[in-house]
């Protein structure tokens, strides 16, 4: 079976723009269907997957994932005619009649959500693909499938939490013997994900995009100041349900901008912050209290269903599962023996899940734990040489004959306090750079955080950077058991007290870090680099952040890597076994072997 999964609703934003011109630009993002992607599942296992933003170069793009599909097909050596089925990670068809309730909703259904819209989008790009081979998968079921069928577990609890999938915000599944059975749902009108995104918007950031920044801001604040507000806003039922009545406040009909809820926030919480305004203690305290209520909600829902099902293994997916701090609290809670968070937990992962679900329905599934998701494109020497030639008047190039020599030189730069970009192999699937499209530096240098924030990432100074550490010594630096596997950089743990001062560039203000463990078996090249770094610095650890600048998707091609390098303050760029530096750079290179 060759099943192509896709996600995104390509008419979602255009419809809102046409229907409601004049909304604030950030209000247009209050919509489903962003982060489109494609994933190709061959005989029950994912072979290729990528988000469309990496091809369109528009961050969080919800456009039809033609670029990602073409990548999957090309890499697999297939044409669209070879594909048995295209599965989409949304299915609004059960709600078709409800959208007839008013003319605007009916129009929105027809243009954005309907099967006809999906088939039309597919056939605009692939006219010969038969409509009967295009299928729709419920959004949360697709998220759940992405977690269960890559967990490697036969039996577990699967919980999906996001802003909204069709009409739900949380779905709880029992997974057993290859089947997923939904046992509970929480409607979108009680969505902890939407509440988090609305407060993100209220604090001057972007809805459905910048929630991780609020998570980063939270440890700077004190949750006590606004705790009672959030405890009144979010209440827990006695059956695993949550209630958030302020999300039901109506005032703007179909525009769906939560205007009345935001008015209430302005009146009862704090006034709305504009994006260019200074961030004050008030904003930090709101972020802290919001993060606390999210963590409490996650612990309550997961704990409740863990307890009543007796399940000790939990698989998580959905955008809320990208909240690394909450994941860390869940891990420490003792509610579960093992927790697996599907690394592409956002809506890009729905492409993967839709394909896996349909593959499972066809009896063709291989439920094996997903290694580090290097499922995206890689580029051959020809592409790299072409990119180098294209920038020949701006760069100097030093090729190395072996990977070991490349690592030696990269480790020397890191030890000297340089910032390097590290580009090799297949691109990561999901929001994190895990060692193939990364910016790396020495985590022990106090100035490194400000330097990368200001000169390279051009981003908010409060945001922390993450460490990548060889799995053999993770327990030495961090408060985890020996051999703890955290390969997806999706969980916060504590830096051990004696080492917090020694690791200032990756230790957050509350002593935590979003650690990535790197093993020789699952992430071999990156592990080899960390071994070299260990020999140079005494620490098999680097600061690892994604290779992009603010507002830009992570680089995909060698050309994008060079262009991004040239317009930032990154000291050196490594593409595979080639070192690249600016012609004007006055750094001294080691002699070439």
């Amino acid at each position: 079976m060759k099943i192509l999964g896709i996600s995104g609703l390509d008419q979602s934003l255009p419809f809102r723009r046409r229907q409601w011109p004049g909304l604030d630009e950030r209000e247009y993002r209050i919509a489903q269907g962003q982060d489109s992607a494609a994933a190709l599942v061959l005989d029950g296992q994912c072979a290729y997957a990528a988000a469309e933003e990496r091809f369109s170069r528009r961050k969080h793009s919800g456009e039809f994932p033609a670029g990602a599909i073409n990548f999957c097909l090309k890499e697999a050596g297939l044409s669209i005619d070879d594909i048995d089925e295209i599965a989409h990670g949304f299915d609004y068809s059960p709600y078709k009649s409800i959208f007839r309730l008013d003319p605007i909703s009916a129009c929105q259904y027809k243009i954005v959500y309907s099967r006809e819209a999906l088939v039309g989008a597919v056939q605009r790009h692939f006219p010969q693909f038969p409509s009967e081979r295009i299928t729709q998968v419920n959004h949360h079921l697709a998220h759940a499938a992405s977690a269960y069928y890559t967990s490697g577990w036969n039996e577990c609890l699967v919980i999906v939490l996001d802003g909204m999938g069709e009409v739900d915000s949380v779905s709880v599944y029992l997974a057993r013997d290859g089947h997923l059975e939904r046992i509970h749902r929480i409607p979108a009108t009680d969505s902890i994900g939407i509440l988090y995104s609305l407060i993100t918007l209220h604090l001057g950031f972007d809805f459905n995009a910048d929630e991780y920044k609020i998570m980063g801001l939270a440890p700077y604040g004190d949750p006590a100041r606004f705790r009672s507000f959030f405890n009144q806003v979010v209440t827990f039922g006695d059956n695993g349900s949550i209630r958030i009545p302020i999300l039901r406040m109506q005032s703007d009909g179909n525009e769906n901008t939560y205007h009345a809820t935001r008015e209430l926030l302005a009146g009862s919480l704090i006034k709305e912050r504009q994006p260019d305004e200074e961030i004050t203690d008030e904003h930090r305290d709101v972020a802290a209290a919001l993060q606390e209520v999210l963590e409490n909600t996650l612990l309550y829902v997961c704990g409740y269903f863990g307890s009543c099902t007796g399940m000790r293994k939990l698989a998580l997916a959905g955008g809320v599962a990208l909240n690394c701090t909450a994941n860390g609290k869940l891990l420490q809670s003792g509610h579960f023996d093992e927790i697996y968070i599907q690394p592409a937990a956002g809506d890009d992962g729905v492409a993967l899940g839709a394909a896996l679900h349909r593959s499972a329905m066809a009896g063709s599934i291989v439920n094996k734990r997903q290694k580090v998701p290097f499922l995206g494109p890689s580029y051959q020497n020809g592409n790299i040489a072409s990119a180098l030639r294209h920038h020949a008047n701006q760069i100097e190039v030093v090729p190395f004959s072996t990977f070991e020599e490349t690592c030696l030189e990269a480790a020397r730069f890191i030890q000297e306090g340089k910032v390097i970009a590290w580009y090799r192999g297949r691109m990561e699937f999901g929001p994190r750079a895990l060692g193939h499209r990364s910016i790396l530096a020495d985590p022990s240098r106090p100035e490194m955080r400000d330097r990368i924030n200001a000169m390279v990432k051009m981003r908010e100074a409060f945001r922390p950077f993450a460490p990548a550490v060889a799995i053999e010594e993770v327990h030495h630096w961090f408060d985890v058991p020996p051999g703890a596997e955290l390969p997806y950089m999706i969980t916060i743990v504590d830096v051990r007290e004696p080492y917090r001062a020694e690791l200032p560039a990756i230790t957050h203000v509350n002593g935590s870090a979003r650690v990535q463990t790197v093993s020789a078996t699952d992430n071999g090249d990156f592990h080899t680099l960390l071994e070299a770094v260990g020999r140079a610095t005494g620490r098999r650890m680097v600061l690892n952040t994604s290779f992009n600048v603010k507002g830009q998707p992570i680089v995909n091609t060698p050309n994008e890597a060079i262009e991004t390098y040239l317009r930032t303050g990154i000291d050196y760029l490594f593409i595979e076994n080639t070192l690249i530096r600016r012609k004007c750079s006055d750094a001294v290179l080691a002699p070439k072997s």
Binding site: P94, Y95, K96, S97, I98, F99, R100, L101, D102, S105, V167, R185, P187, A188, T189, P245, R248, Q250, G253, N254
Partner: protein
């Protein structure tokens, strides 16, 4: 024991947080029932009464007021043992 109308009134006030003036009030005209509200109402009718209408052939007039919803639920036979 609560009547069907009272139980549906309770769904509106306690679950949907909508203040409906009377069982005869027009839920659509007054903007008290939109598409998301209708989805949530159907979910709660199923939970509380076991009422499962054909969602693809809804007659919206039957959902126009709490009274008409109660008539629909009672005539379907749902909730008699609930």
């Amino acid at each position: 024991m609560s009547t069907c109308i009272e139980r549906i009134q309770n769904i509106f006030s306690q679950v949907l947080y909508r203040d409906v003036q009377s069982p005869q009030a027009d839920l659509f005209e007054t903007g008290l029932l939109d598409s998301m509200g209708l989805v949530e109402l159907l979910f709660n009718l199923e939970q509380q009464f076991g009422f499962q209408p054909d969602i693809n052939n809804l007659d919206f007039d039957q959902f126009r007021s709490i009274e008409s919803i109660a008539n629909l639920v009672e005539s379907s036979g749902a909730g008699q043992n609930s």
